[in-house]
C-alpha cells in the first residue's frame, strides 16, 4: 500500500563478520541454525516486509530471539540492515545523510525502551525535557512542555525526583512522557511494559490506549506477550526466527492461525475478549435487540442469553443490519 506511514521492504539483517557474503545463502533459504553452525553468522531479520498504516498501533510479537527488537531498531536506524528498504513517509531512511537522520530521530520518531533508558543524573523534569533540549528548544519552552506531559502520564509532584527514587512503573511513565514530549508522530515502543508487574502493565496499557485515542500517533509496539499484543494491536505481526509468520488483526490471528506455531500460541488466550460479533454473523437478522459488529463476544453473551430465542441482530459501522448471531454459535466460538 502506498499510503503506509512506514514501509519495510525485504529487510535482512545478518550479524557476523561478512554478512554480505552469506546474504545470497539466506536468500536461497538457508535456515537460521545452519547459518550459525556452518557459517558462523546470526540471522537477525529474514526478508521482512511490513506496511504500517498511519495513526495505527502495529504490534510486532515474538519470543525472545525472534528479532523483534532488532526490527524496531531499523526504523530509526539504531541498527543498519544488511539489505532491504525502510521508507518513512516515502523517504528512504537508509539513504539519509547523518544530519537528516539526526533530524528524523529528533523530530519524527521517538522511542520508549524496555529498560527505560532514563538519564540517572537528571531529575524527572529534565528527563522528560531531554528530547526537546536535543532539538534545541529553549529552556522555558521545553520545561513547559515537560510539565504538561508529566501531568498527562500522572506524575504530578514527582518533577524533582531522580529516576532511581521511582518505582519501575513510574520510571516508564517518565519514559513515555519523554517520548511524547518531542511531538514526533511515530512512537517506537520496544517491550516498553515487559519489565513491569502484571498489574502495572495493564495500567500502562490503559494509559497508552487512552492517550492514543486522542493523539493518533503511528505506534510500533514490540512485545513477547500475546495478551498484550491482542489488547493493544490494531494490527499484529508475529515474528519467528527473524521472519514474519503471520500478520493481521487480533481476531484474524485467533480465528485463523497460519500454522501450528501460532495455533499453539493462541490456544490458551481468552477468545471472548478477542473475537467480535461481526465475524460470526450468519443467516437473517431477528427482530429485537441490535448489537454493533465490533462488540466483543464476552460482552455480548449476557445480551444473547436475554434476547428472544437467544439471538440478536448485528449492525455494521453505518448502523445497517447485516445479519444475526445466536448464543450457541457464540459459545462455540469462545470454546473452539
Amino acid at each position: 500500500m502506498s499510503d503506509a506511514k512506514i514501509s519495510i521492504r525485504n529487510l535482512y539483517k545478518i550479524f557476523g563478520r561478512t554478512p554480505d557474503k552469506v546474504l545470497p545463502l539466506v536468500r536461497d533459504g538457508v535456515s537460521k541454525e545452519d547459518l550459525l553452525a556452518q557459517h558462523d553468522h546470526v540471522l537477525g531479520i529474514n526478508d521482512v516486509s511490513l506496511d504500517i498504516q498511519p495513526h495505527g498501533l502495529q504490534v510486532v510479537m515474538g519470543l525472545s530471539g525472534s528479532g523483534k527488537s532488532t526490527l524496531i531498531r531499523h526504523i530509526n536506524r539504531l541498527i543498519d540492515p544488511t539489505a532491504g528498504e525502510i521508507l518513512i513517509d516515502g523517504e528512504d531512511v537508509l539513504r539519509m545523510s547523518e544530519s537528516r537522520l539526526r533530524d528524523l530521530r529528533r523530530f519524527r520518531t521517538s522511542m520508549v525502551f524496555q529498560k527505560f533508558g532514563l538519564l540517572p543524573h537528571r531529575k524527572v523534569l529534565q528527563n522528560v525535557a531531554y528530547g526537546l533540549q536535543v532539538q534545541g528548544k529553549s529552556e522555558t519552552e521545553s520545561t513547559r512542555a515537560a510539565r504538561h506531559w508529566i501531568a498527562r502520564v500522572g506524575l504530578d509532584g514527582y518533577e524533582n525526583h531522580y529516576p532511581a527514587q521511582l518505582s519501575g512503573g513510574m520510571q516508564q511513565r517518565v519514559g513515555l512522557a519523554r517520548a511524547l514530549a518531542t511531538d514526533a508522530d511515530i512512537l517506537l515502543m520496544d517491550e516498553a511494559f515487559s519489565a513491569l508487574d502484571p498489574l502495572i502493565r495493564t495500567e500502562m496499557q490503559g494509559i497508552l490506549l487512552e492517550l492514543q485515542q486522542e493523539l493518533h500517533k503511528t505506534i510500533i509496539f514490540i512485545t513477547h506477550d500475546l495478551d498484550e499484543a491482542l489488547r493493544l494491536g490494531d494490527n499484529i505481526a508475529i515474528l519467528r526466527d527473524g521472519a514474519v509468520v503471520q500478520q493481521g488483526s487480533a481476531q484474524q490471528i485467533v480465528l485463523r492461525p497460519a500454522d501450528d506455531y501460532i495455533r499453539d500460541f493462541v490456544k490458551d488466550i481468552n477468545r471472548g475478549r478477542v473475537i467480535r460479533l461481526g465475524s460470526l454473523v450468519e443467516g437473517t437478522a431477528p427482530g429485537g435487540p441490535v448489537l454493533p459488529h465490533d462488540t466483543l463476544l464476552e460482552d455480548a453473551l449476557l445480551h444473547l442469553s436475554d434476547a428472544p430465542q437467544q439471538r440478536v441482530a448485528v449492525s455494521d459501522r453505518s448502523g445497517r443490519i447485516i445479519g444475526g448471531v445466536d448464543l450457541k454459535t457464540a459459545i462455540r466460538a469462545i470454546h473452539a
Binding site: 530509526n76 539504531l78 539526526r102 533530524d103 528524523l104 530521530r105 529528533r106 523530530f107 520518531t109 521517538s110 522511542m111 525502551f113 529498560k115 527505560f116 533508558g117 532514563l118 538519564l119 540517572p120 543524573h121 537528571r122 531529575k123 531531554y130 528530547g131 533540549q133 536535543v134 532539538q135 525526583h161 531522580y162 529516576p163 532511581a164 527514587q165 519523554r178 518531542t182 517506537l188
Partner: protein, 295 residues
C-alpha cells in the same frame, strides 16, 4: 660450550659507543632546543612563581580562613573543616608553614595541569580504540619507569628548578586520571547511551550530556589518585630544586635528623589526608542521584 654459559652480548666497546652516541645526540638536541623549550614553559614558570608567592606572602590567618571555606565547600562537614584548619595551624606552629605553602602551590598547579591534559586524553581514548591501544603502553611506562630515570633527560633539557620538577610530578601523576576518565566513559550504561542516540543527540551532546556526567565518579577517583601521586613525588621533586616539604626531608635523610624527617613527613601526610577526604566527599555529593528512595 662457551656459547651456552656466556650470554651473546654486545661487545663492551660497542655498548659504550652506543651509549655515548645516544647521550651526545640528546645533548646536542638539548643544546639546540633547550632554550626554545624553556621559553615554551616560561608562562607556566611565571604562574607557578606567582602562585607560590601568593601563598607564602598572604597573611596566615587569611590562608587558614580560605582553607576552612574550601574544605567546607567541598565536604560540608564541620569535623573535617575544623580538623583541616587545626592541622594547618599545627604545621605552622612547628615551623613548616613556608615549605607547606610551596608544596601546596606545586601540587595545585600540577593537579590543574594533569586535569587539563588528562581528561581530554581520557575522552580521546574512550572514543577511539586505536588511541586507547597507543596511549595505554605509554601510560604503563610513565607509571612504572623509576622516576629518577626520567629526571635525567628532564634536567638535561631544562636544568634544575621548578618547571622540571613540575614536569616530573606530572609524568608520575597523570596516568590515573587518563585511565579513569577512559574507563568511566567506557562504563557508561549502553541503554542510556542508546536512548540518547534514539532522541537524535549529536556526538557532542552525548559526550557532555550523558557520558561525562555519568563518568564523573570515576573521573573524580582519577583526580583523587592524581593528587595523591603528586604528593608522593614531593620528596623526589625536591632533588631537582623544587621548594617545599621535600627539601627538609631530603636534608633529614642525608644527615640522619629523625625529628625533622618525621615532622615534615607527617605534614605531607596531613596534606594528603585533607586532599583525599575533601575530594572524595565532593565526589560523593555529586552522586546525589544514586541514592534510592527519599530525597
Amino acid at each position: 660450550m662457551d656459547f651456552l654459559t656466556t650470554f651473546p652480548s654486545m661487545g663492551r666497546a660497542d655498548l659504550a659507543a652506543l651509549r655515548r652516541g645516544i647521550d651526545a645526540g640528546f645533548r646536542n638536541f638539548s643544546r639546540e632546543w633547550g632554550e626554545a623549550i624553556e621559553a615554551f614553559f616560561h608562562p607556566l614558570l611565571m604562574f607557578l612563581v606567582w602562585f607560590d608567592k601568593l601563598l607564602v606572602n598572604t597573611p596566615w590567618p587569611v590562608i587558614l580562613g580560605v582553607i576552612g571555606v574550601l574544605v567546607w565547600a567541598g565536604s560540608r562537614s564541620w569535623v573535617m573543616t575544623l580538623g583541616s584548619v587545626a592541622a594547618f595551624f599545627l604545621i605552622g606552629y612547628f615551623g613548616m608553614w613556608q615549605d607547606t605553602m610551596s608544596t601546596l602551590a606545586i601540587i595545585s598547579v600540577a593537579t590543574i595541569l594533569c586535569i587539563a591534559i588528562g581528561i581530554p586524553l581520557g575522552i580521546l581514548m574512550a572514543r577511539s580504540n586505536r588511541a586507547q591501544s597507543t596511549i595505554t603502553p605509554v601510560l604503563d611506562v610513565m607509571q612504572t619507569i623509576p622516576s629518577f630515570v626520567y629526571l635525567i633527560p628532564v634536567v638535561m633539557l631544562l636544568g634544575i628548578g621548578r618547571v622540571p620538577g613540575l614536569i616530573a610530578v606530572c609524568i608520575y601523576a597523570l596516568p590515573p586520571i587518563v585511565r579513569l576518565t577512559n574507563l568511566g566513559i567506557r562504563l557508561v550504561d549502553r541503554d542510556v547511551l542508546e536512548a540518547s542516540t534514539a532522541f537524535g543527540a549529536s556526538g557532542w551532546q552525548k559526550l557532555w550530556g550523558v557520558q561525562v556526567p555519568l563518568a564523573l565518579p570515576n573521573i573524580f577517583a582519577g583526580i583523587n589518585q592524581t593528587i595523591m601521586m603528586a604528593l608522593a613525588m614531593v620528596v623526589i621533586a625536591s632533588m631537582i630544586g623544587v621548594q617545599g616539604l621535600g627539601v627538609p626531608v631530603l636534608r633529614a635523610i642525608s644527615n640522619q635528623y629523625l625529628a625533622l624527617g618525621v615532622m615534615n613527613g607527617l605534614a605531607i601526610v596531613a596534606l594528603a589526608i585533607i586532599f583525599d577526604r575533601v575530594s572524595q566527599r565532593y565526589g560523593q555529593r555529586l552522586q546525589a542521584h544514586r541514592k534510592g528512595h527519599g530525597q
